[in-house]
Structure formats: structure tokens, C-alpha cells
């Protein structure tokens, strides 16, 4: 029996978190939802009474997240600890989503579980691609660090230890094992989360697959007619970015 933990990253004050919870309550039972809070400690104390954890990780915050190589390591480690508690041992899968990545179909967890089964995957991601040896700007920036390639050689269980994957960080779907093992991998070098998470999972032996047609309404930047309604009409399961809930 599968049970999915919805792990939602947010940093807004309590009023907006309340709105976010109202939205999510249509798509996930609130006792299967965990807020990873990246805002201030003061705001964290005033949050509604739902499972939540304060993420005290300097690498989560920054002004230029891509160039400063933002990390979700703190979230992954805190969630792994949460999952290890006796009451949470039955969570078999984790659906991570940033606050502006919204589910738009009620059976999104079923759809993701089904897709995972079809793909025989351990991780499903948006805009997943292979970037090593390419003109990808993140990859080219990272290989300027002499410790980058040796790091993958050190941790990889794969024959080809040069592979580097990138996914969009706004949401991803993980098996419990893939999530916890990725969380347990020490961040010995600074790598941007969109490269670090999928590449670690890959080199630990997990199978990652792209969500293909589900990428249509999951973008880095909004386009003119991107909305919840449009996403639903186009058969999408989620939409990103939607900054304001109506």
C-alpha cells in the first residue's frame, strides 16, 4: 500500500500559508502534508498547526540562487529525519513541491504512482535532461570547480561516472529509498540543487525519468496565458509558477 508525503517548501507569513494549505487540502490529506519552512523563525512560530519543520540552512536562501548554488540539502535531511520517526515509517513516496508549484488534479498522487510504475522509475522529474559535455550554462559553470568531477567519480556506483543530470527544482516525485539515500549523501562540494539532486540519485543507482508531456505548464517563468484553468484544460497535473492563489 502506497502512502505519499506531500512536502511543500514555503517561506511566506501565516496568512499565505493558510491559503496554501486550503489549496493543498483538495489534493492531499493534511496529515500527509509537511511544510518545509524557509522563512523567518518568528513567522514559523505563528504558522497554522500542521506538520512543519523550520529549515535553518544558509544555502537555501540567497539573492542569486543559481549563481550562489542554492541547495535543498537541508530540506532533504530534515525530511529524512521526519520519515525515520515511527509514525512516519509508512510513507512510501515523497512528492516535493515549491509553494508556487500547484497540483491541479485531485488524483495527482495516483497519477504519479501509476507513471512511476509504468516507467519503473525511482524518481520522476520535470525537464529532466543530461547536461554533461554540453553547452548547458550550469554544467559549464560547475566544471570550473576542480572538485566537481572527482566528486561524482567518488560517489558513483555507475560504470559511466561522468553523467550529470539536471531537472527543474520546483517539484519532483521520489520513492522513499531514493529520497533518503539522496538526503544522506554529504554535500562535499557546492552544487546547484537542480544538478545535485538528480545527479546524486542517478549515481547512487536510481532510475530517473522525465515527466514529458507534464512539462507543458511547469516552466521557469510564466507565459502569458499560464493559469490553473489553462493547465487543467491541457491535461496537466500541476502548474508552475503561480505566485498568487485566488
Amino acid at each position: 500500500m502506497s502512502r505519499v508525503l506531500s512536502l511543500v517548501l514555503a517561506h511566506q507569513p501565516a496568512v499565505q500559508i493558510q491559503q496554501l494549505l486550503r489549496w493543498w487540502s483538495d489534493y492531499s490529506s493534511l496529515d500527509s502534508l509537511l511544510i518545509a519552512y524557509g522563512g523567518t523563525e518568528e513567522n514559523f512560530r505563528s504558522l497554522p498547526d500542521v506538520p512543519r519543520m523550520f529549515i535553518d540552512d544558509a544555502r537555501l536562501k540567497g539573492k542569486d540562487l543559481q549563481r550562489e548554488k542554492q541547495s535543498y540539502g537541508g530540506i532533504w535531511r530534515a525530511t529524512a529525519k521526519f520519515l525515520s520517526e515511527p509514525a512516519n515509517r509508512d510513507f512510501s513516496h515523497i512528492y516535493f513541491a515549491e509553494y508556487d508549484h500547484l497540483p491541479v488534479v485531485r488524483d495527482i498522487h495516483c497519477k504519479l504512482l501509476e507513471r512511476m510504475q509504468v516507467e519503473q522509475a525511482d524518481v520522476l522529474a520535470h525537464h529532466l535532461r543530461r547536461v554533461d559535455g554540453t553547452a548547458n550554462p550550469f554544467y559549464l559553470n560547475h566544471i570550473a570547480d576542480p572538485a566537481f568531477r572527482p566528486f561524482w567519480r567518488k560517489i558513483s556506483r555507475r560504470t559511466d561516472k561522468t553523467t550529470v543530470l539536471q531537472m527543474m527544482g520546483s517539484a519532483s516525485f521520489w520513492t522513499r529509498e531514493a529520497f533518503i539515500q539522496t538526503a544522506n549523501q554529504p554535500e562535499e562540494i557546492k552544487v546547484y540543487l537542480e544538478l545535485f539532486l538528480p545527479s546524486v540519485a542517478h549515481h547512487l543507482g536510481f532510475r530517473l525519468r522525465d515527466l514529458k508531456e507534464q512539462n507543458e505548464c511547469v516552466r521557469h517563468a510564466p507565459f502569458e496565458y499560464l493559469s490553473v484553468k489553462y493547465a487543467r484544460q491541457r491535461g496537466n497535473w500541476a502548474v508552475h509558477p503561480i505566485k498568487k492563489l485566488t
Binding site: 535532461r129 543530461r130 553547452a135 555507475r158 542517478h202
Partner: protein
Amino acid sequence: MNNIKMKIVRPVMLWLFRQLGSDILDAETGAVISRALLVPWRGRILILGTVPDLVPVFQPEARMVQWKRTLGFTCHPAPDFPHEPRS
């Protein structure tokens, strides 16, 4: 200042690169994968414009000559690596 760069200078420069540049074809399929301006610069080639994750590949030459090589571009296929359990 950064705002001006992002809102005005960047789009203008990208537009210029597209106008002056040429289509980049996938060396394997022949499909247009991007458009960019390629500029030889100090023994290297600058790729100016927003391009996808291009992989540079030297092209096969049906007729062998010593004076010409063609450098093309392609993209990696979508990741489809098997699950490799811990040994």
C-alpha cells in the same frame, strides 16, 4: 542597473544575436535545434544567444581531405538509465 541590464540590454543583445546568427541544425537528425551567432575568437568559438544543451560533435566526412573538418551540434537523448541496485 541590474534591472536595466535584464530588461533592456539582454533582450536587445539576444535579438541582435538571432538576427546576425544562423540556424543550428542537429547533426544527427537535421532538425533545427536553435539559432545563435558563432564567432571565432582567440582560437575558440563563441556561441552567442540562448541555446539548448548543445553537444559539439565533429561530423563524418565521406571524402577524406586534410584541410577541412565540420563541427556540428546535437543534443543528448532523454535520460533513460536503468536502476542499478547496490552491489
